[in-house]
Amino acid sequence: MTDALTARESLSRFGFDSLFSGYPDPTFAMDVAGTIIDCNEALLTELGTLSGSIIGSPISSLFSERTAEAASAEFAARGPSRFAAELLRADGSLLRAAIVLFPVELDGVVTAIVGFAHDIEAQDVTEVIAARGKALERMAGRLALMGAWTIELSTNTLHWSDELCQILDFGPGEHPTLEQAFALHPDEDRLAFERAVDRAAVDGTPFDERRSMYTATGRLLRIRALGEAVRDRSGDIVRVQGALYDITDQFDAIAQKIESEERLSSMVDAITDGIAILDTEWAYSYVNPRAEEILGQPADHLLGRVMWDVLPDWRGTEFAIAFKSAELERTTITVRDYYEPLGLWLDVRVYPLSNGLAIYFRDVSEEELAREKSAADEKRIAAQAALLDVARDAIVVRGLDHTIRYWNRAASELYGWSSDEVIGSSIRELVYLDVETFDAATAATMRDGAWNGETEQITRSGERLIVDCSWTLVNDDAGNPDSIFAVNTDITARRSQEERVLRAQRMESLGTLAGGVAHDLNNVLTPILMSVQMLALGEDDPGRSELLGVMEASVKRGAEMIRQVLSFARGVEGRRIEVDLNTLLVELESECNEALADNVEFTLRADDKLWRTNGDPTQLLQVLINLVYNARDAMPDGGGLVVAARNVTIDQSFSSLTHLASPGDYILLTVEDTGSGMTPDIMDKIFEPFFTTKDLGQGTGLGLATSAAILRSHEGFIQVYSEPGKGTRFSIHLPASTEPDGESEIDHSADVTEELPRGNGELVLIVDDESAIRQITRTALEAFGYVTVVASNGNEAIEFCDSSPGSVDLVVTDMMMPLMDGAALASRLHSAHPSMPIVAMSGLNTNGGIVRAADSGVHNFLAKPFTTGELLRVVRSALDGRSQH
């Protein structure tokens, strides 16, 4: 057997290797020849090298050149020694260390030397050595605590060495009998030990049992008993002999070392943790009480038994893998997993020992459950937060002290503060205008667990909001109120929308009611009117006649009001043609000139490039005239009246601000006076039917209501701004009918200026049953040099033409008229006045309509809606065509 093998075996047999492998200081072992056979991790770490470069090298290689010789000399002495030396690191640097060499003896012969090094660079050598002295003494004692035993099978007698007697507190030479010796083991251990000895005696099976054993004085020791059979020349087993040593301290030391290391490294209360040590066969050689508890088995059941046998369920677990890896790779491995058989989450650290494994158990079930819960909570919260962030409602979680804990994205958008800005500040001070309501609502939430209601709040920009609040009290896990979860819905817009809907509904029902009443009222007025008129017929007395006249006028005014109510109740249906509001404004101006007193200064601000709208020009003019009259009435002492028109584009923000308009292009008409103005509460009501500020009998209270209804039917809207004593401005938005682009604007401006063909005093007969069309057409033609006459039906037209033959230069006629339609009229006119050109206007833009118009002698066609330019061009070309004929 080589020195190295002998050394290894002796270290192993003493269990010494396991001691130093877990030792915190650099430790190494040598055979008797001075060759390093093993070292611990601490040494490798300290020197910055690998075990391969150390094991197999002479001891002198560990030291600096300067101290190697002295170290070799100490080693050669083969006795316990302590000295200072310099360890040589792989990088060439030196480590001043206190070295302790300790011989290991087997059967009285030194078979190995164990060396310990301790870094003394920061400390005095002697101090360190003194501190280590105790440990050395303990080791020396341990080395002494080994004895030999022999059982002679022929006589069944036991022999103990003196050392063994000393270990077991027997006096030198006081040999117990074999039975007495077995009796020193606790029951279970004794049986196991007896079996081991019996087997060795019967078939020569060697054993290595780690058991408990009482000494003569009653101390319980952990012992390790090695045994083997000894055969005679004939091969018969004659005795069983072996060694026994006290390993109590060894396990205590390891256990303490692991515990202290854990305490230091993890700050976890290691005392409550389990420690077990497995030998090379993976039999339990040590378990602490906590390990017993965790493993669910008393130490008696565990010690000496192979792990797999005691707890077969460990097989195939992460833990088993960790044990194997730790043993194979000689590294500390930590694994945390759920151990099904015990129903526990275990944190297991496995420290490789040279003769087994040290296992550190920690029951982390609670920690794991908490972690799982918190992970689940976090996941839930994250999911909720994601949901909350996409929620359109502002969601705010606040503590009971009102400090904001959570603030979702919608809250940021609604209130104007980001989450970072408000977390931790008080919601009460931040957004609540009326803290009394807030406090009352909070109290209700605390009392009832929830509260719903409306509050008035304010945004960062100072905008006031009406907010529908839904608050819920949230308890913590212990059931104590912890926070208030608030879902705040901005209903400011909805509220005004609701108000508008309510107002519209009110107006509608008022209209319906009024319609019904009006109908019956006419029946009431009929007998009065007729009676009055009949009485008046036979009345000679001038005074009585005058009174009857007053009655008649009053009845007729009542009838007029009823007519208006009915038309309001019925709603406003009108035509939809392209309207050039400039034309309308020209008409308005002439109307205003008649209606306005001299002390009212009227200003018209039109825009050449004004877009057009689709609508009923008569109705729109009615709206404008109504506004002008209202303005006039608001300025009894005179003032200024400005009517203006311009193009505007309503963007999304304005649209959402007013809730009236969809985004797009509009023509904005404003009618502004410098009159008496209105207070806000009056402004609120002016669009309601039958609301009037005028004296009884002076207004129906339907003008603005009808105007608003007309504009709604045009997909436009009307707004009012007023200041008492300063004046009032009505703004009308009408949607632009065509997509305004640069070209059309240029065309339009060209329309208005000289590029359009003008007339030269020609007489044009305009035939249309719609007065509005007649008016528009007339206005346009007259503005461009024509003279016009009008007729509202075919008969009138024919009559005019027949009455003054040759005077009419051209006829513009609508094709769709009652009684005699345009085609019939054209046909009649063409036969009577073949040289007179006829221009047909029709909204029916189909080929059929054109063909029929052509058949009736019409060669010029004007599709409604037409622009002024189109009208002028068609009229001009028709006239020129005639002159060319």
Binding site: A518, H519, D520, L521, N522, N523, L525, T526, P527, I528, L529, M530, S531, Q533, M534, L537, V555, K556, A559, I562, R563, L566, R570
Partner: protein
């Protein structure tokens, strides 16, 4: 109807409102017409079938058959009809040859002139106006 004078033109007033019937009777009799009256659509149809008047002044809204049904039936008798309605739109819808409408409250002068026009237009023996 028994006491119709040879020169008197008989007009039937159909209105469910007794006050209106009364005032119309006064107005028409004052203008020299003979007046009969009824208060429902059924009544005017039955009375016309039995003894057709020269003209019917018909309220647009009465109990019994609706206005259009009444008018369709009366059209068979070729008696001119003057519809009186509190609602111009309703009245407008009735316009066909031989029909006229007036909106309540009715001006007596309009009433009489319209009746005159209708009677002249509907009287086939009379020369037609241009």
């Amino acid at each position: 109807m028994s006491t119709r004078g040879r020169d008197a033109t008989r007009i039937m007033v159909a209105d469910d409102d007794p006050l209106i019937r009364t005032v119309l009777r006064f107005a028409l009799e004052g203008a020299g017409y003979e007046v009969s009256a009824t208060d429902s659509g059924d009544g005017v149809i039955a009375a016309t079938a039995a003894d057709a008047p020269a003209l019917i002044v018909l309220d647009a809204r009465m109990p019994g058959p609706g206005l259009s049904t009444t008018l369709a039936t009366l059209r068979l008798s070729r008696v001119p009809v003057l519809v009186l309605s509190g609602d111009e739109i309703v009245a407008k819808g009735t316009v066909t040859p031989g029909l006229a409408y007036l909106t309540k409250p009715v001006d007596i002068n309009e009433l009489l002139s319209t009746i005159t026009r209708l009677l002249s237009g509907a009287t086939h023996s009379a020369p037609a106006h241009d």
